[in-house]
């Protein structure tokens, strides 16, 4: 999936300006990091791509299509093409690992055999194939995060967004998670990871976008 931001701004009703004049272009199959202090607008940028919020100015093009032209009814179908991983993983605690990962497939009405196959494939990729019957609370933080990743990729999305996926993990687990993203990128998925862990980002040697108070201050380099 190809993403293009053209002078995108987001101003909340409270008057707070979360993003202003943000422009960048993410090629199909590219992997990039989004860094910046907390409050710099990383999450807002992610939410605009998920259509959780709408920009107040500028254009966001996804595969050449202006997101503003999508109706409310089209939003779910847009989201099915995007996988998201959040810091607070947002797993359903009363559902098994299997069910959590299966959710995007259930929602889009895939058939049951297909679901089982895809879920196991996704769990296999994140190394949790033996934990499908567990409930999230029985897993460690790193494992929970990997369940979240499995859920994000089970639908074979074309874009993978991760908002602080390593936020509360130790460096070793963080590196493992980042390697997972890299693997998905290698098979053609466009990946954008928001992180404030600059050291880790620098080690990954990918394009780095840096936000500061809602403005894009750096695009390129390795941080």
């Amino acid at each position: 999936m190809e993403i293009e931001f053209q002078r995108v701004g987001k101003k909340y009703e409270s008057g707070q300006e979360a993003l202003s004049q943000v422009s960048f272009h993410l090629q199909q199959g590219e992997m990039a990091f989004l860094t910046g202090h907390s409050g710099a607008g990383k999450s807002t940028l992610m939410k605009l791509m998920m259509m959780i919020e709408r920009q107040t100015s500028g254009q966001i093009l996804v595969d050449g299509v202006d997101l503003r032209t999508l109706s409310r009814r089209a939003i779910p179908h847009h989201r099915r093409r995007v996988g998201v991983v959040f810091q607070n993983h947002q797993l359903l605690l009363d559902r098994s690992v299997f069910h959590n990962v299966a959710l995007p497939l259930l929602v889009s009405g895939a058939d049951p055999q297909q679901i089982a196959k895809r879920v196991r494939a996704a769990l296999d990729k994140v190394g949790l194939l033996d934990k499908e019957k567990y409930y999230p609370m029985a897993l460690s933080g790193g494992e929970q995060q990997r369940v979240g990743i499995a859920r994000a990729v089970v639908n074979k999305p074309q874009l993978l967004l991760a908002d602080e996926p390593t936020g509360n993990l130790d460096p070793k687990l963080s590196a493992e998670i980042m390697n997972l993203f890299q693997e998905f990128n290698r098979v053609g998925v466009t990946v954008l990871v928001a992180s404030h862990d600059l050291a880790l980002v620098a080690r990954m040697r990918h394009r780095v976008l840096t936000l500061n108070q809602g403005r894009m201050v750096n695009d390129g380099g390795f941080g």
């Binding site: 939410k47 998920m50 959780i52 919020e53 996804v62 595969d63 050449g64 299509v65 202006d66 032209t69 999508l70 009814r73 089209a74 779910p76 179908h77 847009h78 989201r79 099915r80 093409r81 998201v84 947002q90 797993l91 359903l92 959710l103 995007p104 497939l105 929602v107 889009s108 009405g109 895939a110 058939d111 049951p112 859920r151 639908n155 074979k156 999305p157 074309q158």
Partner: protein, 335 residues
């Protein structure tokens, strides 16, 4: 993707024209649709089973609220069927003077049957009257103890006009005309009693309707409130489903089915209540009916009415859920 002439078209196109092969809105298949509904139907039932106490309480409240108008309806139906039978028998009964000869009575009977506003006249001789009286009242011993038959000759005059509010006055005029005959000692028109009954009945009908409307609204509120709490308790789930691309319809569906189950189960238990209640009152009621007339069958909820009750209650359940869900799901948004 350079196509721009038709923005909307381009938008839809771009959603379809991608390499992925998972279903989107454009790939509707009936089997998928029914599978989803079937799954949701069972899942929402299992959810009710998962919280047995709360579910049973809600279902019973609905059942009780529905069984009240249902029970009154059955009562009304029985009263109506009783009055229907009485209406057919609505007659002017002429009690002739006891000393009247049979020939004089027969002559009167013929004269009256020739009258334009009279459909027929039934002649009941003293002996027939006695037999009828013995049979229906259980006074055989007393009657046989009497030295002679005390009953007069009776003519049952069936007027052409049926009894209702508009014909009552003309029937009363007919009764007066018949009472004025020299052979007649006393003429009785049972229409007045029927008239009162009809009034009471239409009052009862309105009362049942009003009560039904109130209780249906109550059930709507009960279901609505229960579903509202269910949505609230699954807030996180709704958010996650929205995040992974669930349509509003998909999110709404389990709650609508929940309302459906509440309605159907409530209707089922309401029907059961009515059946048990009418079975319970049937024995004394039939004894009571036997005292007045034979041939009347106590009526209860029949199969059609049970199906109607279930359909209505299911509809109320879904409708209540629909209102609650629509009002509530919109307030749960990702942020």
């Amino acid at each position: 993707m350079a196509q721009k002439p038709n923005q909307r078209g381009a938008t839809r196109e771009s959603i379809k024209a991608t390499k992925h092969n998972w279903p989107t809105r454009t790939s509707f298949s009936p089997s998928k649709y029914f599978r989803q509904h079937q799954t949701t139907l069972t899942e929402s039932f299992m959810r009710l089973v998962h919280y047995p106490l709360a579910s049973v309480m809600t279902v019973m409240v609905i059942a009780i609220a529905l069984s009240l108008p249902g029970g009154l309806y059955v009562l009304l139906k029985n009263v109506q069927s009783v009055t229907d039978q009485w209406e057919q028998q609505s007659v002017i009964t002429l009690y002739l003077f006891p000393n009247l000869e049979d020939t004089q009575a027969l002559a009167l009977s013929h004269r009256l049957s020739a009258q334009a506003d009279i459909a027929s006249v039934e002649y009941i001789s003293k002996e027939e009257g006695l037999r009828y009286f013995e049979r229906s009242s259980g006074y055989e011993q007393i009657m046989s103890a009497l030295p002679e038959n005390p009953l007069p000759i009776v003519l049952r005059v069936i007027p052409r006009q049926t009894v209702d509010i508009t014909t009552l006055s003309s029937l009363q005029a007919l009764r007066n005309q018949l009472a004025a005959q020299k052979e007649v000692e006393y003429a009785e028109l049972d229409a007045q009693w029927l008239q009162r009954l009809a009034n009471i009945l239409s009052f009862g009908q309105r009362f049942v309707y009003a009560l039904s409307v109130l209780l249906v609204v109550a059930v709507l509120l009960i279901v609505g409130n229960t579903i509202r709490m269910a949505v609230e308790s699954r807030r996180d789930e709704v958010l996650v489903m929205k995040l992974v691309g669930a349509t509003d319809a998909y999110i709404r569906r389990p709650f609508l089915y929940m309302g459906f189950w509440f309605g159907v189960l409530g209707g089922f238990f309401a029907s059961l209540c009515i059946l048990v209640l009418s079975w319970w009152v049937s024995a004394p009621a039939e004894r009571l009916i036997d005292l007045y007339q034979s041939g009347f069958q106590l009526q209860t909820f029949n199969a059609d009415e049970i199906i109607l009750c279930l359909t209505i209650s299911a509809f109320i359940g879904v409708f209540g859920a629909w209102i609650a869900v629509n009002r509530h799901i919109a307030t749960i948004e990702l942020q």
